[in-house]
Symmetry: C2
Subunit: 329 residues, 2 copies
């Protein structure tokens, strides 16, 4: 899949994960993680509030339960890593129960913002060990029926990397990502939140605006719509509640990039009105897309020369990740 | 490919085209048209300014020439339909030569704006018969090497339909579209230009802005970028000169939809800043995308009850096309 030589694809490098994993929430991300870990021979089990999802998962051969407390008690007994995979809006209510029944477990998550989750953990599960995570994978569909055990193959999985992050806990969370075929991208929570505001959350708003303007024009317009509209508006099809939970939890970073986007579009409108050209925006956009293609189209360069836990390890991981390098474990 | 029952796919309905077709410009669209017509057994030949393109086309077994006058003289002798398939910025220079050497031919085009082309034809090839066309197909790549004889299969092909359009000429242009597997969408030039501003030209600007903001954030951001960024910025990869030629030729209609987009994004920013929510834009975008999916995901309903040339035929075609129906010939 990569255009240039480089590291072996992540999916080709199975990583043995010797810890059980307990996943809370079996939607697209949590359910796909359960399937990927289980299918690879790992011990993984999950909780979901909806009996339909639990039935669907268990009838497919996966371990799933609708009993949160029993699931957490099992995790505490197993010393499982607990993965929060529910919408960000639900975690304040979940965390006290987790802390009550599984306080000694290592906690991670797959939620698309990191500062807000870290604050919630500090407040509602104080004292628990926590290393945040965020796999950059998804589709516009949601729920168990959309799950895919290969969803994370060659995906980027951000793992929170701060100067006071515990090295063993970091390695454990990174190994979950590696076990399901993802590349690990170390980052600080604030840098992550700014990055995903720009490349994940903002595209939902530009897609939404583009879709709304197109549909507002006429059915003739929608009939004529082809690739540029289809691709440019795809993520607007995501369930609105999921989009809002994701975007609103990253409000400050999103405000910044949304304002920059508005400024660029206003400048383009003025240039078009006054000089009949859209040169600046088209050229900037083209250059930016080529920069993305250069990074996304090549095998990721590996982070090298770092021993997890050695002095300055976290800072060095972040420094190399800022050059678009990934941790291969 | 269609989710519901309905008309047979256009590609399954070969239409015999008994007229030669002369294509001026063998880039992505013109070259694909040459290949599609030729591969289907039709008589088609083309002109291109670049010797490399002519060599590439002829060495693949297609009839292509770098001699514009000789090509036009052949078209005049053949009574070929001439298809303008060069960038809109070049046609003012080409049209007088066409009018000089092939004045009796029927002229059409595959350019993405219709009012500007019609004005150029009136001015620089006055008296020639002309019916505009615009196939809604393409990729972000360009040139002969990107051509694909199946590019138009099941695509929408707009054909200019005005009250004074000649019925025989209209049928001839429509039959070219049908011969290469496209559906015919009748429309007036101004309605077409407004529609493509919304669903084809605007997405280039929102993609450009989204790409520029993402790349401006950090290489970490581009490393984390996944499907929403990749799809949402795809068309920004199109050659800038092609994007500018297309967008700037439709400036007035584009200004309108760009202004509406800016207004929607500003309203979303204010809502996010003041109330912490992006509900309105996310909901509007979601509803719009579902409306698009409903139209694009079903087999197009056919225009019925119209005899081309009967009183009111053009008006009735446009009326039904505004309900997202297509002409099947």
């Amino acid at each position: 899949m990569w255009e240039s030589e480089g590291v072996t694809a992540a999916a080709d490098r199975p990583v043995l994960l010797d810890r059980p994993v307990c996943i809370l929430g079996l939607g697209l991300i949590g359910g796909s993680l359960l399937r990927a870990l289980h299918d690879d021979g790992g011990t993984a089990y999950g909780y979901n509030r909806s009996p339909d999802t639990v039935d669907a998962a268990t009838s497919s051969g996966y371990q799933a339960s609708g009993d949160l407390v029993a699931t957490l008690q099992r995790a505490a007994t197993d010393d499982a890593v607990i993965v929060l995979a529910t919408p960000v809006t639900t975690i304040d209510a979940l965390l006290p129960t987790i802390a009550e029944h599984a306080a000694t477990c290592l906690l991670t998550d797959v939620i698309s913002v990191k500062q807000a989750v870290a604050q919630s953990v500090s407040k509602h599960a104080a004292g628990m060990r926590y290393v945040g995570g965020h796999p950059m994978a998804g589709t516009s569909r949601s729920g168990w029926e959309a799950t895919d055990p290969h969803l994370f193959s060659d995906a980027m999985w951000m793992v929170t990397t701060e100067d006071d992050t515990d090295a063993d806990d970091w390695s454990t969370v990174a190994s979950i990502a590696r076990a399901v075929g993802a590349f690990v991208v170390p980052a600080a929570p604030d840098a992550h939140d700014r990055a995903v505001a720009a490349i994940s959350h903002l595209p939902h708003l530009t897609a939404g605006a583009t879709a709304a303007v197109g549909a507002g024009e006429s059915d003739l317009a929608l009939r004529l719509a082809a690739g540029s509209f289809r691709d440019g508006t795809r993520v607007a099809a995501t369930a609105p509640a999921l989009q809002r939970a994701m975007l609103e939890a990253n409000g400050i970073a999103l405000l910044n990039v949304l304002s920059e986007t508005i400024d660029r579009l206003i400048a383009a409108r003025d240039e078009l009105r006054d000089q009949g050209t859209v040169e600046i925006l088209v050229d900037d956009g083209h250059r930016a897309r080529l920069a993305y293609d250069a990074i996304a189209g090549a095998a990721p360069a590996p982070i090298t020369g770092v021993t997890i836990g050695a002095p300055g390890w976290a800072e060095e991981l972040r420094r190399q990740a800022h050059q678009a390098r990934v941790w291969l474990g």
